[in-house]
Symmetry: C2
Subunit: 326 residues, 2 copies
Amino acid sequence: MAVYTEVGDEALREFLSAYAIGELIAFRGIAEGVENSNYAIKTSTGDFVLTLYEKRVDPAELPWFLGLMEHLAARGIACPLPVAARDGQALRQLAGRPAAICTFLAGVWPRRVRPEHCAPLGAALAGLHLAGADFQATRRNGLGPEAWGPLLDRCRPGGDAVQLGLLAELTAAHDAIRAAWPAAGRLPVGQIHADLFPDNVFFLEDAARRPRVSGLIDFYFACTDLLAYDIAVCLNAWCFEADGAFNVTRAKAMLSGYQTLRPLQPEERAALPLLCRGAALRFLLTRLYDWMATPPGALVTRKDPLEYVRKLRFFSSCEGPGSLGL
Amino acid sequence: MAVYTEVGDEALREFLSAYAIGELIAFRGIAEGVENSNYAIKTSTGDFVLTLYEKRVDPAELPWFLGLMEHLAARGIACPLPVAARDGQALRQLAGRPAAICTFLAGVWPRRVRPEHCAPLGAALAGLHLAGADFQATRRNGLGPEAWGPLLDRCRPGGDAVQLGLLAELTAAHDAIRAAWPAAGRLPVGQIHADLFPDNVFFLEDAARRPRVSGLIDFYFACTDLLAYDIAVCLNAWCFEADGAFNVTRAKAMLSGYQTLRPLQPEERAALPLLCRGAALRFLLTRLYDWMATPPGALVTRKDPLEYVRKLRFFSSCEGPGSLGL
């Protein structure tokens, strides 16, 4: 469910009248997405996506997100391009929310990841990192290492009800990960997506079913952080089977695809298992918090936090980057 | 939320390979709709809507619904046209569900009904009734008068918890409406939509903001019943203000629009207040039942049944068709 805010007829007409994108032909809510309200817009000039930014997005940060997307799109990255209205502004107001229209991206996100998706995914991620290198403005990672301790504390009342002993395990993992986390300046930093899950990557396939990346979407967790941490997020998000087993074939394909464009430095390779533990902890903590805060059967589908307990344990047991396919 | 069934990549590819509709370009869930799962599909030849029929739709009735839409579309009604696959079949299976692809319809459903919508709406409804006249197969109205008593009985445990005294009021209304309901053969019968709410009617506007109907969708309550009952449904669905007041301007526009194509018979005019009471009771009962059966905060948004108590009372207080704008 991704329509939280309804848009009135007059409000929509007035909003669209600020743009030079043609006559409105259709306007339908998009089911995908969790954080914001998204509508598919068709006009006489093409397809667009209207996003109304809901409460989890800080309006003050929207210019950074939209600026990053403009920057990346200008460098050939297949990401949504914010469409400026006639007055030059892309970020506007609609139905009491900050809102923007972006270009429509072709493609389908993979419901079942195949190894064939992973090499193009890795290359697309490296391309994003390279294209972001000259985007000067920075954004702190609001869900980075400094946020994990406070998040863990907010999970203490009730966390053990989700799984007995969970809090002790997470506290130990958190302390170990934080103690070992790379000091500032030790690993390359840049603009990262930080949430590149399969539903944020569109693919098109050729006649031989070879997938190529046709779109990267949902940049609203993007930030300035360790580039290799973005790889760690993808290893968490793309390289496990439904039964919890790590799929090293996918990991190898993803890492090879990445390194065709941006070879990892030795320090990044060495740090990768640790970064993967950190990424597992990050998604575990936000899922655990959402799980506890969301009543069963609520409008938003809850994601199982225990999936990430298993991933955290896997990465904690890794003997080195070789276990990840490097 | 209108994606209940997820469609896997291989299943989608195999499903689409049965059609000659071009190469897949995009596949996104549609947020609108309550009963079924709907996906917007874009291919190299155009836009389509894929519907997976969920549990409320009886698969045995789908050929009737799809046949009616084909019949109406062939007669120029702007309704979804089921797309036949290469083998000539439009009704297929996908992800364990009956499924069909239909043509995409342009337009936007009105979030706020204006009187200007109502004349084209009425004309579109009459056009649908006329176009359906030579569709021979019939379908009983599963939510017609015979269904109201059993529905009311299923609401008895708990109905008064929604509003004190509600069951006594509904029982009295039901008995009075059933006793007065037109005997078979007294009023013209034909194919009716039976659920033509604003979110099932798309409009496009010209430069002067004059709306014209560009699409009628969601025929899965359609049936063979009193034509004037369809008008009664629309009077319930389109002609009340948000504060519960009946808007006779909209009603007059709708009825005039209808009669430009199909003038009502004197018996239909006389019966209209009663039919409106019946339609109010029908939506009241299904909403009340869903309200009681759906836990608060569930995935499906519950619709307030008490809105229809107020409409039922209004129509019960009508002195004649003149009160409805006839």
